[in-house]
Amino acid sequence: MAFASLARRGAANLLPAVMIGLCAFVVFGPLTNLFLWAFAEKWFFPARYPTEFGFDFWHRVFRPRAGAWTSLFNSVWIALATVALSMALAVPAGYALARLKLPARAAIMLIFLLPQAFPSLPIFVNIAQMFYGLGLNGTYTGVVLVHSLPGLVYAVWIATAAFSAVDRTMEEAARNLGAAPLRTFRDITLPQAFPGLVAASIFVFLDSIDEFTGTFFVGTPDITTLPILMFNASMGGNYQIAAITALILLIPSIGFMLVIERFLKADVLSRIGR
């Protein structure tokens, strides 16, 4: 009797444990493989694990001529420029949308999502074709523009949520006590929406750091970002270099995840759909 109930309890505990284990495997399996590859000196077919570990490929990646540094700087600069452009558009747009009445606001927000709804490949192919005509292919401007397309969606959505969270009467109180509209925006609205805007910037930054398809169509071969470098390396069968590049890509991502955690409050997130 006691054994049967123990077995049942054991089974009840086992199932979640197995599920968690499976999830962990799905999430962390590829990451572990990535780590192994990053430090594998020799890893040939029948061997289950690398036969030799070392930092040899790290030296190769960071050799001046390998292009890793250039790609890293390209990626970061492009991401920062994308953030600047997206936020410059998203702050006024988000504020205007946040102050709109609901039906109109929902419609406009939905329209902003449309580019995300279409498959990205045809969109980028067409953008590349348009950019050829404008001479933007292979330029930083072109890549920043193409990164801003998905970036704007995040930026506008989150900025709208952040501005909606600012109580209208607080602006009215400032106006009432003598602040002109712009001054009110600067002193009252912006500081309160700031955490949300930081979150929006982070999303745009991460999206841009990770962006591949658009960069591939618009930027290459003149502009190489980290994802492009990684793609070239893995297509050439050079898994070590691909893995090391991927690890470098993790640095800004993890850094910004930590910032999000600090800045983004649940009440800002919860207003995104409203």
């Binding site: 109180a173 006590l177 003598g178 002109a180 509209p181």
Partner: protein, 339 residues
Amino acid sequence: MGVEALELQGLSIRLGGAQILHDVSLSVPAGSFTCLLGPSGCGKTTLLRSIAGFAPPASGDIRLGARSIAGLPPEKRGTAMVFQSYALWPHMTVAGNLTYPLKLRGIARAEREERAEQMLELLGLPGYGARKVGSLSGGQRQRIALGRALIIDPPILLLDEPLSNLDAAIRRNLRGELRRLQQRLGITTIMVTHDQEEALAMADTIVLMRAGQVVQVASPQDLYARPADLDAGRFLGVDNVVAARPDDPVAAATLGFRSMDARIRDTALEEAKGNALVRHGTVLDCAYTGGGYHLQLESGAEVISAVSGVPVAPGSQVCVAVPTASLMAFGTDQRLLPN
């Protein structure tokens, strides 16, 4: 800036196709305390917001002292408003909230801080300057919001249901405090409220509003004793309305009175007619209300509420008498008849 009078001339306001205010004219003497009283949705808050510049008038004029302010943006009007939600800025400290209006006026830092400290003193919250707004209680927030409005030394103070978010006990305290502060500063004040008791206790003049129109402008005593019509009376606690009879002391279509003025008499001891309204009825219900008993009695087709010092068993026959002075006579158009 000094204290100034406010004058509304034929003010009409539309919001989203709906007419919120119809041709409102009102004059508020300098230094007076005026309450805009009415049920929710009567337009009283819109009227206050239009004075502050947040509801553009469709027609009419708003004059503060000698100048017209109807066309000015809110920041140029100099009207100081206390919002129902207080609208304190959470990203600033208490002192930051108080000094911001002064900063906007280009006053030097040292003077700003000194004036904030004086204001905190006046509000009975000395030393609270460095606190976060979030750490204050409701009553403290209310005072800071008031202080933030008063610190600019405004010609007029606008209060939008300033006490409605507070507990009953704090509300009563602050009511007196606010009134004393207003009298001490002698500032022209307009307060919006839906609480008739609050309006009666605080105001010099009450403006009774209904459906976007001013129904009556009167002192608390006049308004209480002589509401302009039946609806106004009901809003001011006239809970009994009976059809008048020929032998009643006052000639009217209907007579109104408050249940606290309707005393139960023994049926045997009938009051001499002529100086009181008298009705006979059957007690439906008798509830203890602390100081006495509240009765509902059926008199013909009418139900009358009355008070009694002693309990009365339901079903017993009683007589209720209301002194003539407590009666309000309304005509067939439901308007109060002149005496």
